[in-house]
């Protein structure tokens, strides 16, 4: 059958099971958009390409499928860059299609030409420039395969206009993956699993340290089983929230810079660390030499390069977290254990709970907003965040019940991520309420996507913790730069309620604690329109406890007294 490159592209997407793409048109992708016009693939028209990349990312995190976005050449493609880097740092599977000038013009500084494969080389798992229509089908197949297997990540496919325009004879199913340098990891070293089991059996003070790999390999069930079987306390990274229910007795909450004291103290005392799908990030370890000083380390990761990168492992296990945990669980019988250890931890929990003081300014405390959201939704919602204090409070005070319900930019820390990601999540999981916990600074970075949410009738809730500051930066200026608040006061801001209304969304301002519940309930009842809750919170509340950068986890500031 004679088909244009663009038509082949869409057929291949359907073969990959893609039903939704996020994108924004332009000259170089006109052939693709022309083919989309009659396709059954649903195209969500964003208002900025960065929004498309984050929305595809939110869709991927919420559903576990590969997220797909499309942008035109030049500025369209470069607008994707922050979204691609965000996905790359958090190991999220995306396939991003960019338009490119015609093959005969490449390299001549043609109109809207940008070397996007060059630009994205260090921030993608892999990328392609497709030079012949004959290569479209194979490339798409490889791109999806690479994006979702092993350690997931973003793949960029650059498509010159003439490659999309030309017609060739196409037969479905003919394309074959040809990747001799890329092998999908299968299995694991069972000797190491046996060693791990022995260590677990003999440990007196074990801790599970679970991260994004547990979420991405859908291993929360296996993780919970291991924890339950041996009554092992579990701490999660920012990326691992939801791996264990927030209200479980075994849950220690988040560890690291803004982790709970009891999680960090447990790491300090542990004699065995079961590290599952984590990468020993500096926000987690603090001063690396003093991280888990008494613990043997079992490190399970699909990416061999992660093992020994920051911390040496006593038992390195390269493999899918899910499979490895299954193998460990099979060899362990359930027992009641570690009473002394639990007593110690209980004491810490009692002595150093997460807590915050009353308002100094008679305003709503931001932490209480998260607690209220938690109370009203009971973990049955998807929470996305922007970046900064809002993000940390969400991680600290929301009790997550399920995996894939906390979507946040951890590795890159991208302000402006949360709202478009919420749009993607809502499209992927229309059955779940979706709430973006936002700061007044971050939300303005992709606020234009309100138009998208209104157009597609997506009742996404944006909950602005409005402190009229770039709060997290202000906090650091307060702590480490003598309180010199250099350019972090953002009290010049739009009226967010009017702004919502101007877009056709709902805007509600909340200035007093008593109004909060009713406002949230109203927002949760909305079925057709996005809602902005502009919640005026304590301006100078800080996130505590905190490990100052470069310090040991045992040296935490704040949270020990009110």
């Amino acid at each position: 059958m004679q088909l244009k490159g663009a038509e082949i592209l869409l057929r291949c997407l359907q073969e990959e099971g893609v039903d939704t793409v996020f994108g924004y048109p332009g000259g170089a992708v006109l052939p693709i958009y022309d083919a989309l016009f009659e396709s059954s693939i649903r195209h969500i028209l964003v208002r900025h390409e960065q929004g498309a990349a984050h929305a595809a990312d939110g869709y991927a995190r919420a559903t576990g499928k590969v997220g797909v976005c499309i942008a035109t050449s030049g500025p369209g493609a470069t607008n994707l860059v922050t979204g691609i880097a965000t996905a790359n740092m958090d190991s999220i599977p995306l396939v991003c299609f960019t338009g490119q000038v015609g093959t005969s013009l490449i390299g001549r500084d043609a109109f809207q030409e940008a070397d996007i494969t060059g630009i994205t080389l260090p921030i993608t798992k892999h990328n392609y420039l497709v030079e012949r229509t004959e290569d479209v089908a194979r490339t798409v197949k490889e791109a999806f395969y690479i994006a979702r297997t092993n350690r997931p990540g973003p793949v960029v496919v650059d498509l010159p206009k003439d490659v999309m325009e030309r017609s060739i004879d196409y037969k479905a199913g003919d394309a074959e993956i040809n990747l001799r340098g890329y092998r999908v990891m299968k299995g694991y070293n069972s000797g190491q699993v046996i060693t791990a089991v022995e260590l677990i059996k003999n440990a007196k003070r074990p801790v599970i340290y679970a991260g994004g790999g547990v979420i991405s390999s859908d291993a929360a069930g296996e993780l919970r089983e291991l924890a339950q079987k041996r009554k092992i306390p579990v701490t999660t990274t920012l990326m691992g929230m939801g791996a264990i229910p927030g209200n479980s007795y075994l849950n220690l909450g988040m560890l690291g810079m803004h982790g709970t004291r009891y999680a960090n103290y447990a790491i300090g005392e542990a004699d065995l660390l079961i590290a599952a799908g984590v990468r020993f990030d500096d926000r987690v370890t603090g001063k690396i030499e003093t991280f888990a000083p008494h613990a043997r380390v079992i490190h399970i990761d699909i990416d061999a390069a992660e093992i020994g990168k920051n911390v040496d492992a006593d038992v390195p296990i390269v493999g899918q977290v899910k499979e490895v945990l299954q193998a460990i669980n099979q060899r362990l019988e359930a027992v009641e254990q570690y009473w002394e250890w639990h007593q110690t931890i209980d004491r810490w929990k009692k002595e150093f709970p997460l807590r915050y003081g009353p308002s100094c300014e008679g305003r709503i405390m931001p932490q209480s907003v998260i607690e209220k959201i938690c109370e009203l939704t009971q973990g049955e919602t998807i929470i996305t965040t922007e970046v900064g204090q809002n993000q940390m409070w969400a991680a600290q005070y929301y009790k997550f019940k399920h995996a894939r319900t906390f979507l946040t930019s951890g590795g890159l820390g991208t302000m402006g991520y949360g709202f478009p990601a919420a749009i993607g999540a809502k499209i992927g999981r229309p059955d779940m309420p979706v709430i973006d916990i936002a700061g007044d600074g971050s939300i303005q970075m992709n606020i234009q996507e309100l138009a998208t949410a209104v157009q597609y009738r997506l009742p996404v809730i944006i909950c602005i913790l409005n402190n009229q500051f770039l709060g997290m930066v202000r906090q650091w200026q307060g702590l480490f730069y003598g309180g010199r608040y250099s350019y972090t006061d953002v009290s010049h801001q739009p009226d967010f309620v009017k702004l919502a209304e101007a877009y056709g969304a709902v805007g509600i301002r909340v200035t007093r604690e008593e109004e909060l519940e009713a406002a949230l309930q109203q927002a949760l009842r909305e079925t057709e329109r996005p809602v902005i809750l502009d919640i005026l919170v304590e301006r100078e509340a800080d996130v505590y406890p905190m490990v100052p950068p470069g310090s040991s986890l045992s040296h935490m500031l704040g949270g020990d007294e009110i």
């Binding site: 080389l121 260090p122 350690r151 340098g181 020994g308």
Partner: protein
């Protein structure tokens, strides 16, 4: 810290070398020398990289390189019985008074004179790094005008028995 020689077998496609060198730059590993060329199989190229580092750095370099989709195989041949060669061209100041001395050095190192100018000679040397460093040292006193090295290439020796 010591010098390691890695042979990296890669797909012979545009951009592969950029991926490899970008990785070294981004992760802060230093390339001492690099040579690349097609192999007996035209769809495959071989990059020979010399890199300074301890065992841990080498392990990271290797693991990170393996993550590049177009990298097929990596061998650290530092410990292997191998042949390593580099080619160097040296343009040296040489008036009539010193030519004889230079020719003598060239003979000792089994190098070759490949160009004779009015006041200069170009010398071609192949060998391992030790030999090359030695001849360069011996020639320095005459005045090196220009020097260019290809970078090291290497191959593991065949089985003896």
């Amino acid at each position: 810290m010591r010098k390691h020689t890695l042979t990296v077998t890669v797909e012979n496609r545009p951009g592969v070398l950029t991926r490899v060198t970008t990785l070294f730059r981004r992760r802060g590993y230093n390339i001492e020398s690099l040579a690349v060329g097609e192999t007996e199989n035209p769809s495959i190229s071989r990059i020979t990289i010399m890199v300074m580092g301890d065992g841990k750095i080498l392990e990271q370099v290797t693991k990170q390189l393996y993550k590049l989709v177009e990298v097929i195989k990596i061998v650290d041949i530092t410990e292997e019985r191998s042949v390593t060669r580099e080619l160097v061209l040296i343009k040296i100041r040489a008036d009539n008074n010193v030519r004889a001395d230079i020719v003598q050095i060239v003979d000792i190192f089994r190098a070759r004179i490949v160009d004779i100018g009015k006041n200069s000679l170009i010398i071609e040397v192949t060998g391992d790094s030790g030999k090359i460093d030695a001849i360069v040292e011996s020639l320095k006193p005459f005045g090196v005008l220009e020097l260019v090295r290809t970078g090291v290439i290497a191959m593991v020796r065949g089985e003896i028995k």
